[in-house]
Amino acid sequence: MHEIAAPASAGGTALLRAALAAATRAGELCALVDPEDSFDPRPADIDLRRLLWVRPRDPSHALRAAEIALEARFSLVALDLARTAPPARIEGVHVVRFEFLRKRRAPGEGIWARLARCAQKHGGALLVFSREPQAGSFSSTTIEIERDRSRWEGSAGAPGRLLRGAGAVAAVTRFRHGAPSAPIRLHLCWEGG
C-alpha cells in the first residue's frame, strides 16, 4: 500500500493518473475508486479499456470497493479520497445537516491494516490519494507534495494567454525499505483540454 498526500493543485491527481497510465499501458488491469466522481476520461494517457471506474456515494463504500477490487486481483487499485469541494447541494431541497462527529471521523487504523494485508495477500498494489497522510505506518511508501508556482504563457490580460502548467515539490516522507528521499522538483505541464 502506497500513499500520496497533496493539497489541491499540487499534482496529486496527476501522479495518480500517471501511475494508472503506466499500469494500463503495460497491460495490467486497474481499478479507480472515485467517491468524488472527479475522473476525467478525455485525456488519452490511460488505456480506459483496462480501467474499472467505481463511483461509490459513501466513503465507507469506497474502502469496501477497494477491498473487493484487491480481492479480485486487480494489479493496481487507486483509491482517490482527496476532497476538492464540499458536496453539491440539491436545488429546491432544503438540507438540514446534523453533524455526528463519531460517524464523520476519518477511517480508523483497522481499515488501513486490513487493506494493506489484502493488497499483500492478493499481490496487488493499493495507491491511496488524500489531502493528508492517513494510513500511517501501514503505508509502504508515502509521497507528500507541496504546491509551487504556476506557469503561464503570454502577458497578463492579453489575448492568447495560456496556463502552461504548475510546479510542485515532492518528497518520499516514508519508505519502509529505506530512508526518506530529498525533495524532488516536479513539473506539471498542461497539455490543453
Binding site: A6, A8, E28, L52, W53, R55, I68, F74
Partner: protein, 525 residues
C-alpha cells in the same frame, strides 16, 4: 445408436425435496396442485419414509396409515424448474439431448467415451450431473430410446433418496451392453411397460398390457418369440410397437433439441408475501439453486429477470442487467434487494420466478512466471459485487461521450481486452533530468455555482465560491468560447477561463452566455 436415458422418478416429490432437502427423511406426501390440504386431496407421490402411502390415496387415508405424514401441495413452478434442471444435467454430459417428458430426458451417448471412459463412466457422470443440480435420477444406457428407458426404470429399484446441500441425491444407473440386450429384455416383466403416476411410460395402452397378461404372457421375452402376423391379428395396431420394443428394435426416433437459453427457478407461496424479507429469503434459495445450475454448465448469469405473480394473478416483471456476468448468489441477491426496495410490488406476492440469461464463463491461462493476475471470472464477479455495492450506472469502464460539454463522462460495460500474447513493451524511458507529469483536471460533478466579480474588460477579479473554491484571482487566461448543441433542448454557450486563486488553487470556471451565471467546472491538480 447408443442412447442414455435420464429419468427423475416422482418429479413433483423430487422438486419439493430440492427446495426443502431436510424433508427427505421425514414422511412426506405431495398432493394435487391447487387444492387445499384437506382430507379429500389426492396424493400424487410420497417419499420412502412414508412407504405405506401410495399415489391415488386421499390425504385422510394416507394420514390414517402414516400418522406423522407431512403434506405439501404440488408446485407447478418447482416442477417446471426441476424438469429444466434435468435437461441441463443432460446437456452438461452430451450436446445432443431430447426432453421426451418433464423429468425424462434422452441423450445421444455415442462418442462420449473419450470424455468419460466406458458407458458406466457416462452413466456415472449423468447421475453426478443430476446431483449437482439437486436431482436424484435413474439412468439407463442401451440401444435405442425405449430400451434405454426400460434400463432406467430397472435402475429405479436401486435409487435411494438422500438429502444433499443442493437438494437430493442417491441416483442409480443400469447399463445394458449391446450383446446382453436380448437377455435383459427377455427377463423384463410386462408391467414394466405400463405408465404409472410415478414414471412416464412408453405410451402403450394399459388395456393392451392387461390383455397380454390374460393371455398368460408375463415377460417381454415371451412376446418377442411370437410371430408378428398372428399377434397383430389378435391385438390390432398396438402389436407392432410392442413387438419392436420386445425385440429391442427401437421405438421412437431420437430428435435432438436446442439446449435451454434461459435458466429458471420458481417457487409458489402458501400465503401472500407482503413484506420484503420473506421475498428475499425465497429469492436467496432460488438464487442458490440457479447458481448451482449455472455452475454445473460452466455458465454465468449476464442478466436476471424477476417475475412476481401478484394477488390478482397479474405478473410484475423486472429485469436487472448486470455490469458483469456472475454466479455469486450474495451480490445478485443484493441487486434484487435494491430493485425490490426501489419499486416494491403493488400487492401481495403469490409466486416468484427468477430467470437468468446465461453467458459463457471465460477461462484464461494463468501465467507461468510472475504473479497471478485477475481471471475473467474473478473480474466479472468483482464487477457484479461492486455493482451491488455502489448501485446502477456507477461502475464500469469510463468513456468520454461524443459531446462538447466540458468534463462529460459516462460508464460503459467493463470488458477488458484479453491479455496480449506478445511480450509487453517496457514503458518509454523518461529523458534524464526532466520530471514532467501531465497536469490533470478534477471534474466537479455537478459544476459548483460561484459568484465572480470582473473588471471593466470582463476579466475575473474575485471568485466567491463554496469552501476553498473562492478567493482573489491572481492569474487568469481566457475566455475560450464554446457554442454547441444549439440544435438540442440544452444548448451550450459558454466562455471558459483558467484562474489561479490566491493561495495557488488552479480552477477552470465558465460563464453561461445567456444567463451570465458562473460555474466552477474543474480544479487542476
Amino acid at each position: 445408436m447408443r442412447v442414455a436415458c435420464l429419468l427423475v422418478p416422482d418429479l413433483s416429490l423430487v422438486a419439493a425435496l430440492r427446495a426443502a432437502p431436510h424433508l427427505a427423511t421425514a414422511p412426506l406426501a405431495i398432493v394435487q396442485a391447487g387444492r387445499d390440504l384437506g382430507g379429500r386431496a389426492l396424493v400424487i407421490a410420497a417419499n420412502p419414509a412414508a412407504s405405506c402411502v401410495a399415489a391415488g390415496m386421499t390425504l385422510s387415508e394416507a394420514r390414517s396409515l402414516c400418522p406423522g405424514l407431512d403434506a405439501q401441495s404440488e408446485s407447478p413452478e418447482r416442477v417446471r424448474a426441476a424438469a429444466q434442471a434435468a435437461v441441463e444435467a443432460a446437456c452438461a454430459v452430451s450436446p445432443r439431448v431430447e426432453e421426451t417428458a418433464p423429468g425424462l430426458v434422452h441423450l445421444d451417448a455415442s462418442g462420449l467415451s473419450s470424455l468419460f471412459g466406458d458407458e458406466r463412466g457416462i452413466a456415472r457422470a449423468l447421475v453426478a450431473s443430476a446431483e449437482r443440480v439437486g436431482l436424484c435420477a435413474a439412468v439407463g444406457i442401451a440401444e435405442g430410446k425405449s430400451v434405454a428407458l426400460l434400463a432406467a426404470r430397472a435402475a429405479l429399484a436401486d435409487v435411494e433418496l438422500e438429502a444433499s446441500p443442493n437438494g437430493v441425491r442417491g441416483g442409480a444407473f443400469r447399463v445394458v451392453p449391446r450383446e446382453e440386450q436380448a437377455a435383459f429384455l427377455a427377463d423384463l416383466p410386462l408391467f414394466a411397460l405400463a405408465s404409472s403416476a410415478r414414471v412416464p411410460g412408453l405410451d402403450l395402452d394399459g388395456d393392451l398390457v392387461e390383455t397380454l397378461q390374460r393371455f398368460g404372457l408375463r415377460t417381454l421375452g415371451e412376446i418377442a418369440r411370437l410371430p408378428p402376423g398372428p399377434l397383430a391379428a389378435r391385438l390390432g395396431p398396438g402389436a407392432a410397437p410392442l413387438l419392436r420394443i420386445a425385440r429391442g428394435e427401437g421405438e421412437g426416433t431420437f430428435v435432438p433439441q436446442h439446449p435451454p437459453e434461459r435458466f429458471e427457478e420458481g417457487e409458489e407461496l402458501e400465503w401472500e408475501a407482503t413484506s420484503l424479507e420473506p421475498l428475499l429469503f425465497l429469492c436467496k434459495a432460488l438464487l442458490d439453486r440457479l447458481c448451482a445450475r449455472l455452475g454445473a454448465r460452466g455458465l454465468m448469469a449476464r442478466e436476471l429477470t424477476l417475475l412476481l405473480r401478484l394477488e390478482g394473478g397479474s405478473w410484475d416483471a423486472r429485469s436487472i442487467e448486470l455490469a458483469g456476468p456472475s454466479r455469486e448468489a450474495q451480490p445478485l441477491l443484493q441487486l434484487l434487494r435494491l430493485s425490490l426496495e426501489g419499486r416494491p410490488p403493488v400487492s401481495g406476492v403469490r409466486a416468484v420466478r427468477l430467470c437468468a440469461a446465461p453467458a459463457r464463463e471465460v477461462l484464461a491461462q494463468l501465467p507461468l512466471f510472475g504473479p497471478r493476475t485477475a481471471s475473467p471470472t474473478q473480474v466479472a464477479a468483482a464487477v457484479a459485487r461492486l455493482h451491488a455495492l455502489v448501485g446502477e450506472g456507477r461502475v464500469g469502464m469510463p468513456v468520454a461521450p461524443d459531446t462538447h460539454r466540458p468534463f462529460a463522462a459516462e460508464v460503459a460495460r467493463f470488458a477488458p481486452p484479453p491479455d496480449e500474447t506478445q511480450p509487453r513493451a517496457a514503458p518509454a524511458a523518461r529523458p534524464a533530468g526532466r520530471d514532467e507529469v501531465p497536469l490533470a483536471a478534477r471534474a466537479l460533478r455537478p459544476p459548483r455555482e460561484a459568484e465572480v466579480r470582473c473588471d471593466a474588460r470582463g476579466q475575473p477579479l474575485l471568485v466567491i465560491g463554496e469552501g476553498a473554491l473562492g478567493g482573489r484571482v491572481v492569474q487568469s487566461a481566457g475566455p475560450w468560447r464554446t457554442v454547441a448543441e444549439w440544435w438540442t433542448d440544452r444548448p451550450l454557450a459558454l466562455d471558459s477561463y483558467d484562474l489561479e486563486i490566491a493561495g495557488g488553487l488552479l480552477i477552470r470556471a465558465s460563464r453561461e452566455l445567456d444567463s451570465g451565471a458562473w460555474w466552477i467546472e474543474a480544479v487542476y491538480d
